[in-house]
Subunit: 331 residues, 2 copies
């Protein structure tokens, strides 16, 4: 029953959380191998009370494991995921490399667990912003059929890795001290600023991050008739993404009915008591495996619409936790 | 030709900018009177190379001026604006007290300057988030008729005054130093966090700030058929509001045509060169009287729609500058 696991990109912000999620969720691990680039090789990482030495990821030394969790960027996944899969291992890939590949399932376990069964050695973990949104869209779509979604995101810097988190901290100190901000990871100053630019710009004026929300949502909900548009914005928050989401449905849902449907969704918590100023916040979601939804109200601009606010820890449900949950489906 | 001016709330974040805007825009001022609560009376404020002593705002000492710029909250406006207007002065009120009063014009000078002429002694300055949005909506509505708008805001703390700006600074230092955040002005921690709650909550689940965007937009554009919904969010930015706005129109507009129309709007600057990572940013808009728009693209989710991103300094065009521009209409 125990599975041998490799984590590729083990020293990154998501990789570190993948190892913690395996421990926290008591995944039945046999041997655990931690892999990373040459630069991080020989680093020691604690796991299960012991210490693992990080190994260099090399074509001529693909480890023999049952499941490999990848979070080392799309280029690494494109090159190495097929090599791991070729050795009979199942790769759960957190990069964008295979997400829209029709042969690769794109899975959020609470939403489309059945899809995971049809894999050919690779299962893709969706984009962080998409995961937390589809958890909310799923029960609404089942009950009232979603026609269109307009999403605006408030994304924390941790989605861009350790260096981005360090940049926000250092830059914030500099700005408070009256020093100039020196952007390196982000294209502009992120301290006390919002940047409407995540991922590269595409021909149609959208960013890659925005089109991920458009395309991945349809694939996961298995319905290409759902129209989605998104504007994705980086905000000076360390961890946890917020999303203001407007949903138009075919059938009318009252706010009360929507709250009821959302409360029935596993790993989704409704926090929606305006009178007590209770709604989801990034600082409260940090470190939690759940996704949180609130500000649920009937849209005053259309007959059948809802407005709501979703928050989740982008390194957990948005990445590591969802990947480990996919691994749990394979047990 | 010179006008005697009173600024009510002269020591507040917006009041201070009103005085600066009168100077910067070379408004033909005669005497300038600065008024505030008892607490701020006797403070000295620089104006035009001289010094003004702040006077206490009192019912039995309404100054004899031509124009009064109010920014001291709705309660003060409700009580004092009619007293000023009763003495033949024109009040330009930055609070929400009279905005939806059918006898009071609600004016953005580039959008509906004609409305200012029909005043009965009071002209209302719209909400900051509304002003920067209608500057963009106006040319699009004229060319293609707007059916529906979905707005999500990224609002800086300065909209809540000096104390809010100090809270963001102090709290950010505390959090960086590993100390607990102590919220006072905001209902929750604002340092490295986003709060989807601006203004009081209403029966329909929206906040006051959100319903201002819904109702004021229709009044300024003089078209109740425009459907608007909004989610307003406070972000840890000092000055400058961002807005992700989705617009559905009756007629199709290409992104190129929209860019052309927006470029023709006075005091609105198009910054839209994705290839160079150029789009509006709060830190660039700070201190500027203009409003900035970018990320203009055709919405992939509908036949006739646009997505775009608007930024403006909420203390300037969102408050002080717009108020002084209304005063200029009265000359």
């Amino acid at each position: 029953m125990k599975k041998n696991i490799a984590v590729v990109g083990a020293t990154g912000a998501v990789g570190a959380e993948m190892l913690k999620a395996l421990e926290r969720r008591k995944f039945p691990v046999g041997e655990v191998r931690a892999l990373a680039s040459e630069r991080s090789a020989e680093t020691k990482i604690g796991f299960g009370g012991a210490e693992i030495t990080v190994e260099e990821l090399r074509e001529d030394a693909i480890p023999d494991v049952d499941i490999a969790l990848f979070s080392a960027g799309a280029a690494v996944s494109r090159k190495f995921a097929p090599l791991f899969a070729g050795r009979g291992c199942v790769v759960i890939d957190n990069s964008s490399a295979f997400r829209m590949d029709p042969r690769v399932p794109l899975v959020v376990p609470e939403v489309n667990p059945h899809a995971a069964k049809k894999h050919n050695g690779i299962i893709a973990n969706p984009n962080c912003s998409t995961i937390q949104m589809v958890l909310v869209l799923k029960p609404i779509h089942d009950a009232a059929k979603i026609k269109r979604v307009v999403a605006s995101t408030y994304q924390s810097v941790s989605g861009a890795g350790w260096a981005a988190m360090e940049e926000l901290t250092a830059q914030t100190r500099d700005v408070l001290d009256g020093m100039p901000a020196r952007p390196r990871v982000f294209p502009h100053r992120i301290a006390f600023n919002c940047i409407p630019h995540i991922g590269a710009f595409l021909e149609n004026g959208y960013t890659e991050e925005e089109m991920k929300m458009v395309n991945e949502t349809r694939k996961i909900l298995e319905d290409d008739s759902i129209a989605v548009t998104a504007t994705t914005v980086r905000v000076p928050v360390m961890r946890g993404h917020g999303e203001a989401v407007n949903i138009q449905t075919e059938k009318k849902l009252t706010a009360a009915r929507a709250r009821e449907l959302l409360s029935g969704m596993p790993n989704l918590e409704v926090i929606d008591e305006p009178a007590k100023a209770l709604y989801p916040l990034a600082v409260d979601a940090e470190g939690d495996d759940a996704t949180f939804v609130g500000r649920i109200r009937e849209d005053v601009s259309v007959e059948c619409g809802l407005d709501l606010w979703i928050v989740s820890d982008n390194l957990l449900k948005g990445a590591a936790t969802n990947a480990v949950q996919i691994a749990e489906l394979l047990l």
